[in-house]
């Protein structure tokens, strides 16, 4: 177990290094003059260009540039956003909160509604199961931005129950503003989690060891809790974890749809404006969150399944 944790942490460091390198290299090697890219295509006075050249040490060898960038990044210095005329780290600091809240709210929705519906459908054959199956089939196919438009159109524009745009201030107002975006973000992921949960519960129900428990005269609720749900929790936790992690990137779409000034929306603006320092900084933060989250999912899996000693979770 200790060996597994160490191995997984080593993999985490490697993944962070490689992905940071890919982010750096990808953007640095972008076609065209890096100065033009760094300046976002604006024409800058020569002294500004010179300052940029010095700041990014563009005359150094490539790996040295990467090393410098990484060292600065670790210290919290992600450079300057030219388009926003601001420190990248500061911009990220300002915007990360709302994105984290949005993803967290969506995660709660997924865990409660997705796992709940899945367990219900898994245990009850018949109309309940059929209804969940139909609903999740539809839901799984609704892209987050379509869900956003529909929710906005119905609950914000037609009914006026929720605000259509913005993120709000203060706890209650923020929550009020984030309900629709979180639902839009969670919708299809919820369906996927529900279906996997249902399938896992079904699979466990038919396991031989469950038959053993039944044959020993255990009451049904105990069989379900100790043998069916306990064992189904392993794949459910894994899939829920991965699905929730995928929302980190998807939040960009929902933030754009609802006009929320979060990390994702900022990333999209920066990409469109070729504001490379900002793109690098935000990408790095998002990938790091994703990779760390993946490691956590693997560790949870190892805790739930005593058979795990080496290797990673099954596909």
């Amino acid at each position: 177990m200790v060996a597994f944790v160490l191995r997984r942490l080593a993999l985490l460091v490697v993944a962070l290094l490689v992905s940071s390198f890919v982010i750096f290299a990808g953007l640095q090697l972008a076609p065209g003059d890096p100065l033009a890219a760094l300046s976002g295509g604006r024409s800058l006075p020569p002294e500004a260009l010179e300052a940029l050249r010095a700041q990014y040490r563009l005359d150094d060898p490539f790996l040295v540039q990467y090393g410098n960038w990484l060292v600065h990044a670790v210290q919290g210095d992600l450079g300057q956003s030219i388009a926003q005329r601001h420190d990248v780290a500061t911009i990220i600091g300002e915007r990360i909160g709302v994105t984290a809240q949005l993803v967290a709210l969506a995660a709660v929705i997924i865990l409660v509604a997705g796992v709940g519906l899945g367990v219900l459908a898994g245990l009850r054959r018949g109309p309940v199961d059929a209804a969940v199956l139909v609903v999740t089939t539809l839901l799984a196919a609704i892209p987050s931005f379509v869900a956003a438009i529909v929710l906005m159109s119905v609950f914000a524009v037609q009914l006026g129950w929720f605000p259509a745009v913005g993120a709000g201030d203060g706890f209650a107002d923020r929550l009020h503003h984030l309900v629709l975006p979180a639902i839009a973000l969670a919708a299809s992921a919820l369906a996927i989690v529900a279906r996997v949960t249902r399938a896992s519960v079904r699979e466990e129900l038919e396991r031989e060891h469950v038959e053993t428990a039944v044959s020993r005269g255990l009451p049904r609720r105990l069989v379900l809790r100790r043998h069916v749900l306990r064992n189904a929790a392993i794949p459910i936790a894994t899939v829920s974890g991965i699905t929730i992690l995928s929302l980190i990137a998807l939040s960009a779409v929902v933030e754009r749809a609802f006009g929320i000034n979060g990390l994702g929306a900022t990333l999209v603006q920066a990409a469109a404006a070729k504001d490379l320092a900002l793109v690098q900084g935000i990408s790095l933060v998002l990938v790091a969150a994703f990779v760390v989250g993946n490691t956590l999912v693997d560790l949870v899996y190892a805790v739930l399944d005593p058979r795990v000693t080496v290797g990673s979770r099954a596909a």
């Binding site: 982010i23 953007l27 090697l29 379509v146 438009i149 524009v157 299809s188 960009a252 999209v268 990409a271």
Partner: protein, 282 residues
């Protein structure tokens, strides 16, 4: 057949008989229709999809324009039909690229095992740290926004998912005794993979490709929605959901909803079909 096997078969048959294959045929029909429209789209469009007339802004259905007009007074039906092309072509390209890379990686890893498997696994693990949408946003920052940058980015991001699922299937198949028998017969690795291994995981490959198409369609549309994929004024379902957003806020959701519905219908059909194909394997 052992008693356990009999019991399992009895159970799974029961589960499968719950829904007939009618659903699969309907889904197949919808997909065929979408493909047809993608090929013939502009020819089927009753009007020029890019002809704008601001007098017709947000006008509802009228004779000759069964879906009405968008914010710029363009015929909605014509734009939907014309938009099918990029909306279908993009995901198709992603599926072809990601499946080709994924199958190759999976079969190579399963066949060679050992360090080759470990190395490919590590590469896939690293690729796995880039969510598709994020990679596509990065690609648009580097190469400028375009459908093809997004297609390449998504293909790369999907490859590890395909490779993971297919690798475990290929490893199972590789361990089957008929594969070992073919090796002892002196057949070459490539021949065994091509004649035995791949055909026997083919149902899973097809099921994976189908599911992947659905994901690719949604993600590409999302990227176009963000303005980093297909560029307006070209008609595309993802772009139309985005350009229709202004109308939604003003109480005219027709454009966004119609384009969104097209995506949902195709994705539901593709997902259901993929599920059926996956089930048939067992």
């Amino acid at each position: 057949m052992s008693a356990d096997a009999v019991v399992r078969t009895a159970r799974s048959r029961r589960a499968r008989l719950a829904a007939g294959d009618v659903v699969a045929w309907i889904c197949g029909g919808i997909i065929a229709l979408a493909v047809l429209v993608a090929i013939l789209g502009p020819l089927l469009a009753p009007h020029d999809p890019n002809a704008a007339d601001l007098n017709d802004q947000f006008v509802g259905p009228v004779a000759g324009h069964p879906l009405g007009f968008d914010a710029q007074g363009r015929d909605l039906l014509s734009r939907l039909l014309a938009g099918a092309r990029t909306s279908m072509l993009g995901p198709t390209a992603v599926v072809v690229l990601a499946m080709a890379a994924g199958v190759l990686a999976a079969v190579t890893a399963a066949w060679r095992g050992g360090w080759v498997d470990a190395a490919l696994g590590t590469v896939m693990d690293v690729l796995f740290s880039f969510p598709g949408i994020l990679l596509a946003i990065l690609a648009s920052a580097v190469f400028g926004p375009s459908l093809w940058a997004a297609v390449i980015a998504l293909s790369i991001a999907y490859t590890p998912y395909v490779a993971r699922v297919l690798r475990s299937a290929a490893v199972r198949e590789r361990a089957q005794e008929y594969i070992a028998a073919a090796e002892v017969q002196g057949a070459s690795a490539v021949a065994i993979c091509a004649r035995h291994l791949v055909p026997n995981v083919a149902p899973l490959i097809v099921a994976q490709a189908t599911l992947l198409f659905g994901y690719a369609m949604v993600d590409l549309a999302a990227i176009s929605f963000l303005g980093l994929g297909v560029q307006p004024p070209q008609a595309d379902w993802g772009v139309m959901v985005s350009t229709g957003k202004a109308g939604v806020l003003q109480g005219y959701p027709a454009e966004s909803l119609a384009a969104g519905l097209c995506i949902v219908v195709v994705v539901v059909a593709v997902n259901l079909l993929g599920e059926r194909l996956g089930e048939r394997r067992r």
